[in-house]
Symmetry: C2
Subunit: 120 residues, 2 copies
DNA sequence: TAAGGTACTTACGAAAAGGTATGCAACACA
DNA sequence: TGTGTTGCATACCTTTTCGTAAGTACCTTA
């Protein structure tokens, strides 16, 4: 299958892709699930210091709705819910790798002299 | 040169890379400059319907500070300022392509049934 | 009967991002 | 002297995002 993009549709496509990854904590969660890891809610909570339950569930739910994360509910008491990546979620790896590679190229390619510290 | 990433540093690296691309209009601007295009402020303004001058200059300035965009000032009256990508900025192409490819894989890989329309 | 563990939900407020509107400096031209 | 062009800067407001804190449902165990 082949796609042809105009400037606008390409920009829109990437924007939509980025929207799925934006949001505080999403990438941290993703990288904890990469590699086929299956983690409980409380595992993630413990693994990611500083995150609140609200944020954790919020980001997980969005990624689930977006088809990146799979949610597995075990009907027990006390409750047990596990999270892992979908195949499509796992397929993110090479794309993120490309970004990482690009970021690493920063020094040496161009005459970007200042350290360019962003103020957020 | 080789990097080894932990879950955390990889997530942080990607986060930092994404921060450079986040922000309304940035990708649209980028895709207008890809291919070595050199555009004036007013060209971009006209090329991107809906953008305000404030947003345009704001995003351009950030990308300039981040080393993605180069700003060329011609001291004339009326003023003439041109914008183009740095080499590093151009190097973004393959990474964005990887994202586009990933996004296009959505259907067919996994059992993501609903169209998953995001409410923004 | 009370305490505890798990996976959430909800209310509230601060901060950041984004949009609209207006102003300004410099000079050329009429 | 007044008007027009270009590339911004600034003030103000709305919307979205993020963080904190508290509460809930369910059943188990002491």
């Amino acid at each position: 299958m082949q796609h042809t993009y105009t400037r606008e549709t390409a920009a829109e496509g990437v924007e939509n892709a980025l929207k799925l990854l934006e949001g505080r904590w999403k990438l941290v969660i993703l990288f904890h699930l990469f590699g086929g890891h299956v983690l409980r809610f409380s595992d993630l909570e413990r693994a990611i210091p500083g995150i609140s339950q609200k944020m954790l569930i919020q980001q997980l739910r969005q990624m689930e709705k977006d088809g990146i994360v799979r949610r597995i509910v075990h009907h027990q008491v006390p409750p047990k819910v596990e999270y892992c990546l979908t195949d499509w979620g796992q397929a993110l790896c090479p794309a993120l790798d490309a970004l990482l590679t690009w970021a690493a190229q920063r020094e040496g390619t161009d005459g970007v002299s200042p350290p360019a510290a962003r103020r957020d």
